[in-house]
Amino acid sequence: MSIAVRSTNRPHLARQVRLEWDPVREQHVLLAPEGVLVLNQTGAIILGLCDGERTVDGIVEELGRRYDRVVGDEVRDFLSRLAAKRWVELGGE
């Protein structure tokens, strides 16, 4: 099951999902009805940029400003996996 992520999608977290900082693990976590995803730093930054306004291209571009090496395919793959779980909604094009 793979959901196509377009460059013009404007992803945002599904409404039943929360992004939180866990002070115990000192990592960001994504909380959903029956699951927890402990995020690495990049994952947390990507999701922090998923505000429903930025496009996928805009997110990749913003990451490029912060990091030397940004692989657009990895960002799209990450969003696709979360969209398949319905933790992220890809949003309007």
Binding site: I3, R15, Q16, V24, V29, P33, E34, V36, R86
Partner: protein, 376 residues
């Protein structure tokens, strides 16, 4: 040491339903000295400090606690994700508003079948119409909704209808979980266990629905472990990811572990941190050192963790044996015989089910449900 992610808070074992597969203990009367609001609030703070991120509020029927809204508000204040697992009996518009205001994240409503007569019969009380209305109310409030269905011989042929109902109600998720044979379900095992033919048909219906509803509704289907080759990875390992707190403050590595002959642990006597890290109860089956063969030398020992300790105890009288569900277990005949009986024996009827007894609480609060937690 791993830190727990999830805590199941069994707020009360009082329940308006009498489901014959209830996973609550048989000796319900032993749990009447329920934790107070302040005690729960302390436990929640300790749980968050220990690493817990998700709080599953269950029972019995958690709405039977008049302080549920306060408990939810405290949990949200600590940053916990709050999940209410309810029969919905007692979920009035006022209470729903109160819980919404307290920050409740997600609602799971149980339903017993896709039509009133069978659903009410299994629940042991008139409840179907209320449940459907409550599910609609939850969706009208724009709350995420999961429909929970415990599956067994008497409703498994209706999986298609249940999926249609969930779709019609606009549920975000549906959990179709085959009964696990603990508590009252153990007592009713013969009458509950589906046949292989029934399972085959249900799985085909689920597969088709998953394709049709992809991206629209999440469908979780939990197979009955008696029909599996390998045991379930119970709780993702003993004392690894989750813990349960019972209505009177007992702490357990899994909700069924009250059946085991092990030292007790209670939040009334010890901190949650000590119980998780140090207590004999939580360390008894942690890791792989306790394992007998065939688990000890098995490649899957860190995949399924030897299966379920409670099932091993229930079937063999020894909680430290390999889960007899595993086809490699020397005790596997115990499971194979039960499966054979379900396929070759006389066909049990709904009338053969023994309902969970009525509970009467000493406190003034009304009572509340069945609970069947999906083993992850």
């Amino acid at each position: 040491m791993n830190r727990p992610y999830g805590m199941l808070a069994e707020l009360t074992y009082g329940c308006p339903l009498h489901c014959p597969y209830c996973s609550n203990p048989l000796n319900l009367a032993d749990y009447r000295e329920e934790l107070t609001t302040a005690e729960w609030q302390r436990v929640l703070a300790e749980a968050r400090a220990l690493g817990v991120l998700q709080l599953h509020l269950s029972g019995g029927e958690p709405l039977g606690r008049r302080d549920l809204e306060e408990i939810v508000a405290s949990a949200r204040g600590l940053g916990l994700y709050t999940n209410l697992i309810t029969s919905s009996l007692g979920l009035s518009p006022q209470r729903a508003e109160g819980l919404r205001a307290a920050g409740l994240d997600h609602v799971q409503i149980s339903i017993q079948a896709d039509e009133p007569a069978l659903s009410d019969r299994i629940a042991g009380t008139t409840s179907y119409e209320h449940k459907v209305a409550a599910a609609r109310m939850v969706k009208e409030m724009d709350w995420p909704l999961t429909l929970n269905v415990v599956i067994h011989r008497h409703n498994i042929d209706r999986v298609g209808g249940l999926l249609d109902l969930a779709e019609e109600l606009g549920a975000d998720r549906i959990e179709l979980a085959n009964t696990q044979y603990y508590g009252w379900a153990w007592r009713n095992r013969e009458a509950l266990m589906p046949s292989r033919a029934q399972l085959g048909k249900a799985e085909a219906v689920v597969r088709a629905a998953r394709e049709r509803l992809e991206g629209k509704m999440e469908i979780i289907y939990v197979i009955p472990d008696y029909y599996s080759l390998y045991p379930k990875p119970c709780m993702d390992g003993w004392g690894q990811r989750q813990l349960t707190v019972t209505p009177n403050g007992g702490v357990l590595p899994c909700p069924a572990a009250h059946t085991l002959e092990l030292p007790r642990a209670s939040v009334r006597e010890s901190s949650l941190e000590w119980i998780w890290d140090e207590s004999p109860l939580f360390n008894r089956f942690r890791g792989t050192d306790w394992m007998p063969d065939p688990c000890r030398s098995c490649d899957r020992r860190e995949i399924d963790f030897g299966g379920c300790r409670c099932q091993a105890f229930q079937l063999t009288g020894d909680a430290a044996r390999t889960d007899p569900v595993c086809h490699l277990s020397p005790d596997h005949d115990l499971v194979a015989d039960a499966v054979r009986a379900a396929n070759e024996g006389p066909e049990p009827g709904v009338a053969d089910l023994i309902p969970r007894v009525r509970t009467r609480k000493s406190s003034d609060s009304p009572t509340g449900l069945e609970y069947s937690r999906r083993v992850p």
